[in-house]
Symmetry: C2
């Protein structure tokens, strides 16, 4: 006999899958203040700003992506990083395919207003679509760009791609 | 009687002004490898890539600027950060006016090849033209963007601007 949902609920409260992010309290911003802060961002001709994602604990730089006003608003409202995919020309909730979401701890704006810094908790410890921790996995060496970090998880497994065999 | 320069030299070897950067050994790259690595960067339609400057020790993000191929080449060759100023449309040797140069410790390229990460020693501990440590001195709070860092040095003193009086 299956236990009722009601009976299960108290037990489930203690069961949280590994890597499930804790949502951080985001600033409680009024509609008017939200519109003001969005206007203070200096969007480029395509309506975008560069957004750096940095691990909030290790301070490692994970990636650089782009945001439009809708993605910044969603990031603020959901507490998870939402970017604008320039290649797909659509909103990109980071981790929507991979599960590797980024939980926002802090959002900063630079002096010129044209760059944003997200301090995040990287779910799954993988930010890069290549399966590496950081997108900045190439370092300049004597012979040019040299890889500096291993693939943690095969992208085929991350994105559940069919085998090439 | 003034000591001769020859006599002074051994003593001066131990006198180094505060904040004078030590030049780090940069990769020794052949002309051919340099041309190859520059081609591996994915320059945008304006011939630029975003470049993040990060303190090589504290891992603090100092600023985001832009580079063209000439500025990246100069950065590699000189060991100091050279950007492309979009507002002035010219090469910008960081610190040329302020003295706040950035000594390169490491140069990284991201997975897409369209973002660069410089790990630097920030001369004078000030990266921002406002006189703050980092350009990312505004943090999102309940009322919008709130300043999170003090001005270390008055920009008028940094850039030797005439008094407004």
């Amino acid at each position: 006999m299956q236990p009722s949902r009601q009976a299960l609920t108290p037990c489930l409260a203690f069961v949280r899958p590994i890597h499930t992010p804790v949502k951080i309290r985001m600033p409680q911003i009024s509609h008017q203040n939200l519109q003001t802060l969005l206007k203070q961002v200096k969007w480029n001709d395509a309506g975008l700003v560069a957004a750096i994602a940095q691990d909030h604990q290790s301070q490692e730089i994970l990636m650089l992506a782009w945001m439009n006003d809708a993605s910044l608003q969603l990031t603020i409202e959901t507490g998870h990083a939402v970017y604008w995919s320039r290649s797909r020309q659509k909103l990109w909730h980071k981790g929507e395919s991979s599960g590797h979401q980024q939980v926002i701890h802090d959002i900063r704006l630079d002096c010129d207003g044209d760059a944003i810094l997200l301090q995040v908790e990287q779910v799954g410890s993988i930010a890069c679509h290549t399966g590496r921790r950081s997108c900045f996995y190439r370092t300049l060496g004597d012979k040019g760009w040299e890889e500096n970090a291993p693939v943690i998880k095969d992208p085929n497994d991350i994105y559940h791609l069919p085998s090439k065999d």
